[in-house]
């Protein structure tokens, strides 16, 4: 059996609420600042939840051409900006022939996660062609020529492939709220299986639009803490009352270890394991025992030959709904056993909200930075303990702590449960 190809992270790019770029994002979450605010994109007065974590995003100022902004939904624009930052960070130079830092274009893949794709554009254009919701048989005279690409979110993977001249396998991964973990997990599998040496992998979502807010309103999944937007996202706190919608993107450059070493790349961490499972229970409900998420964590740890004792940090899904945080706490206890009692576990959704499919990649970016820098971001707004959520959630203040192995987990509509394991390049393998 051939030696397993190992996958490392050599570049990170982030577009997150309340900050600019990777370093702005890192500063913000380690300072415990929150980016949740009253919705400004539209008048939220008629909605139950009026809070969101919005990105002050201007694609042109961030390096996109006017044409790129014009033809693409916001989710694609944010993915492009995050990918540009990640690729620049990696030091890889695409499309420059045989230079040392130029990967073989045929060996570069793209995996982009998105839960809801071009929802924002599809809704906005629908308002035009339906005359504000009056016409079922919509009027073609008002249709933009870019609706065909908006209809199918694979346009996002295409834009990234074209941007970097990546001729390897490309796809959009759309498993709802685990899309961002799954996209990076699939990207790692492309490298492991020898189908690519480099993968531009990440996720993006821009769901702060009336239809998304309305559909979560009706099932009361989102918070109604409208009078205190800055403290609306309260994961693991007994007062938690739903998630805060967010948006954003994060993209990682995944690279085969030998490929990264040969060019002397800086390595953030290694992706040592990834697994997902389904609960086959309910599209939105979670059983409190967390069995299937625990199974995903167990499998991901086993792949990287990492033991529960080695896990120093759990980057939680921590959405701030009653059922999720209880479910997840149970899953981590089930997987880590006694080690759960001493593990640090935090939810950055307390600060940047829940950007559906994107958040999984944003959280992996945070986890990779935490492993590299020995600082764990906190759970903001954590005040009142809940007896059912009794782990160490790193309340409010970041913690300096060296971590050899960290996991990031996610859970989503459809019953999807995903876990990924990141290990420090300086970790001593047991």
């Amino acid at each position: 059996m051939r030696e397993r190809r190992r996958v490392v992270v050599t570049g990170i790019g982030v577009v997150a609420p309340g900050s600019m770029g990777r370093e702005g994002f890192w500063d913000m979450i380690t300072e415990g600042r929150t980016a949740t605010r009253r919705i400004s994109f539209f008048d939220p007065a008629r909605f139950r939840s009026q809070v969101a974590a919005e990105v002050d995003f201007d694609g042109v100022k961030l390096g996109l051409s006017a044409q790129e902004v014009f033809r693409n939904d916001r989710f694609v624009q944010m993915a492009m900006v995050a990918a540009d930052e990640a690729v620049a960070d990696s030091g890889l130079r695409f499309g420059v022939g045989d230079a040392d830092d130029a990967p073989d274009p045929d060996r570069v893949g793209v995996t982009l996660g998105s839960a809801v794709g071009a929802t924002m554009r599809l809704e906005q254009e629908y308002v035009s062609v339906s005359d504000g919701g009056r016409l079922w048989e919509v009027d073609p005279r008002y249709a933009s020529r870019f609706l065909a690409s908006a209809l199918v979110p694979s346009c996002g993977a295409t834009e990234l492939a074209v941007r970097f001249g990546a001729h390897g396998p490309a796809t959009v991964v759309s498993t709802g709220c685990t899309s961002g973990i799954d996209a990076i997990g699939y990207g790692a599998q492309l490298v492991e299986d020898g189908d690519a040496d480099v993968v531009v992998a990440g996720a993006s979502d821009a769901p702060i639009s009336p239809i998304s807010m309305a559909c979560f309103d009706t099932i009361r999944a989102t918070t109604d803490s409208n009078d205190d937007p800055e403290h609306a996202s309260k994961p693991f706190d007994a007062r938690r009352n739903g998630f805060v919608m967010g948006e954003g993107a994060a993209v990682l450059v995944l690279e085969e270890l030998g490929h990264a070493r040969r060019r002397g790349a800086t390595v953030y961490c290694e992706v040592t394991g990834y697994a997902n499972r389904c609960n086959a229970f309910h599209m939105t409900g979670l059983r409190p025992d967390g069995v299937e998420m625990a199974e995903a964590i167990d499998r991901a740890l086993a792949q990287g030959r990492t033991s529960p004792d080695e896990v120093g940090y759990v980057n939680a899904h921590g959405s701030g709904t009653k059922q999720n945080d209880r479910h997840e706490t149970a899953a981590v206890k089930r997987s880590l056993g006694p080690a759960a009692g001493s593990v640090a576990m935090s939810s950055i959704k307390s600060m940047v909200g829940h950007s559906l499919g994107a958040i999984g990649s944003i959280e992996i970016a945070a986890t990779a930075l935490a492993v590299q820098r020995g600082v764990l971001p906190p759970t903001a707004n954590y005040e009142v303990p809940d007896p059912e959520c009794d782990l160490d959630y790193v309340p409010k203040v970041a913690r300096e702590q060296k971590v050899d192995v960290a996991i990031s987990v996610g859970s989503g509509f459809g019953g999807f449960q995903s876990a990924i394991v990141l290990a420090s390049p300086t970790r001593r393998e047991s």
Binding site: R46, D106, V110, A115, V116, G117, L122, Y126, S130, G132, G133, R134, W136, E137, V138, P140, A143, S144, R145, L147, A148, L151, V152, P153, S154, C155, A157, T158, E159, A161, V162, F164, A166, H167, P169, A170, T171, V172, S174, T175, D193, P210, I211, A214, C215, F216, D217, T218, I219, A221, N276, R277, C278, A280, F281, E295, F413, G414, G415, F416
Partner: protein, 415 residues
């Protein structure tokens, strides 16, 4: 590499609901592309579509599930059941994680979502129902199949427009390599409501012809775009040892190789040449350990757009041009319209049926073929031919190229 067996097929297509219904219609050359029913497609300059007329959702989907889901998911639920029944498959009781659902998706729950957005803007947020959040998103069909049938394995959803059906098989192989013995793959699509059709019209690749014989004509000199179809196929793939252990009675064929590339040229224009498309085909052949000479049939993407048809022929000629006898090439999508993610999955089912019966279905309305390059033999009318190795090709708008190699099952060599 792991060779995978296809042990079950479920088809919901314009040609019929059920694998044999589809096949009989295709072999007889029955017209499944007809004038659009249900709404005024003429508003968008469109007359024809491949609608699934024989599909009675209530025959396949429980009432409480039907109200929560879009037509696209009804078709997935139906096709998943048909595939499991065809395979005689029930998930093992001692391992709830032994079965995965890994489907391709294209445009999600279109009609359901149009209703809800319509209500939101016409009447306000309170008119949006409780199921919009689970009916529209691209993972809805995968999630619902997993829940209904109790499949807890590592499931997934990929989107690569028309290439998705093949790509779901490519990704499922990674799932099997990592220890899950059975995966449902493929996908369905339902983009025939006013807004989804309008979106597709803006892409500029739909035929506006009014008669089927003038409309979707891949590789014909009068090719002028494609016709939208709906439906697709779901297939059960199994690791050979697991299939044997449960006593699987039927093996449709083996998934022997797969390759995928991206043109990475332009966000909507076709690539300047067929380099990457040809590379995808070569990757799949190398993966399968098959030489171009051994390929008995190619089931083509058959875009029906002159420039794209030319690129496909160039790719085929680049791979098969040195053969002593040209490779037969057919485009059965011409009978159904293009089903986006469902289309390439349906073509895999069609290829396996062709292999079973030794019949190559022809290409509809191929009256005046374009000049074919060396190595290519376009199949206009159904023909009888022994088939042991078949290549299925698919492309997705934007530059996705995928190729799958299927092989007739040789039990003596895998036992």
């Amino acid at each position: 590499m792991t060779e995978l067996l296809v042990t079950g097929l479920g088809v919901v297509a314009p040609t019929g609901v059920g694998v044999e219904e589809h096949w009989a219609s295709l072999v007889r050359g029955e017209p499944a592309i007809r004038p659009v029913e249900g709404f005024d497609a003429q508003r968008y300059g469109i007359t024809l579509a491949g609608q699934v007329r024989d599909f009675v959702p209530a025959d396949h989907v429980a009432p409480q599930l039907m109200v929560q889901t879009d037509r696209w998911t009804w078709m997935s639920l139906a096709a998943a059941t048909l595939a499991a029944e065809d395979a005689g498959y029930t998930p093992p009781e001692d391992d709830v994680y032994a079965t995965s659902v890994f489907l391709a998706s294209g445009s999600g729950g279109n009609e359901f979502s149009q209703h809800e957005i319509q209500g939101l803007w016409a009447k306000g947020p309170k008119s949006v129902g409780a199921y919009q959040s689970i009916a529209w998103f691209y993972a809805a069909s995968t999630g619902q199949v997993s829940i209904r049938d109790g499949y807890k394995g590592p499931s997934g959803v990929v989107v690569s427009e028309g290439a998705g059906g093949l790509d779901s098989i490519g990704w499922a192989r990674r799932v099997v390599r990592r220890g899950t013995p059975a995966v449902l793959v493929g996908g369905t699509e339902a983009g025939l409501c006013p807004y989804a059709l309008l979106c597709q019209v803006t892409g500029g690749r739909l035929s506006t012809a009014e008669r089927p014989e003038d409309a979707y004509k891949p590789f014909d000199r009068r090719a002028n775009g494609h016709v939208v179809g709906e439906g697709g196929a779901i297939l059960l793939l199994e690791e050979p040892g697991a299939a044997r252990a449960r006593g699987a009675q039927k093996v449709w064929g083996e998934v022997a190789g797969y390759g995928a590339t991206h043109d990475a040229h332009h966000h909507e224009d076709p690539a300047p040449d067929a380099t990457q498309y040809a590379r995808a085909i070569r990757l799949s052949l190398a993966d399968a350990g098959v030489s171009p000479d051994e390929v008995d049939l190619v089931v083509a993407d058959g875009a029906g757009v002159p420039e794209l048809d030319r690129l496909e022929l160039d790719a085929l000629s680049a791979v098969f041009g040195q053969r002593s006898t040209p490779v037969p090439v057919t485009a059965p999508s011409s009978w159904t319209g293009r089903l986006m993610a469902g289309g390439s999955a349906l073509n895999v089912a069609t290829a396996l049926l062709a292999m079973r019966d030794g019949i190559v279905p022809g290409t509809a309305h191929l009256d005046d073929p374009v000049d074919v390059p060396p190595g290519v033999d376009l199949v206009a009318s159904s023909r009888v031919q022994d088939l042991a190795t078949v290549v299925v090709l698919a492309r997705g708008a934007g530059g996705f190229n995928s190729s799958l190699v299927l092989r007739r099952h040789r039990p003596e060599e895998t036992s």
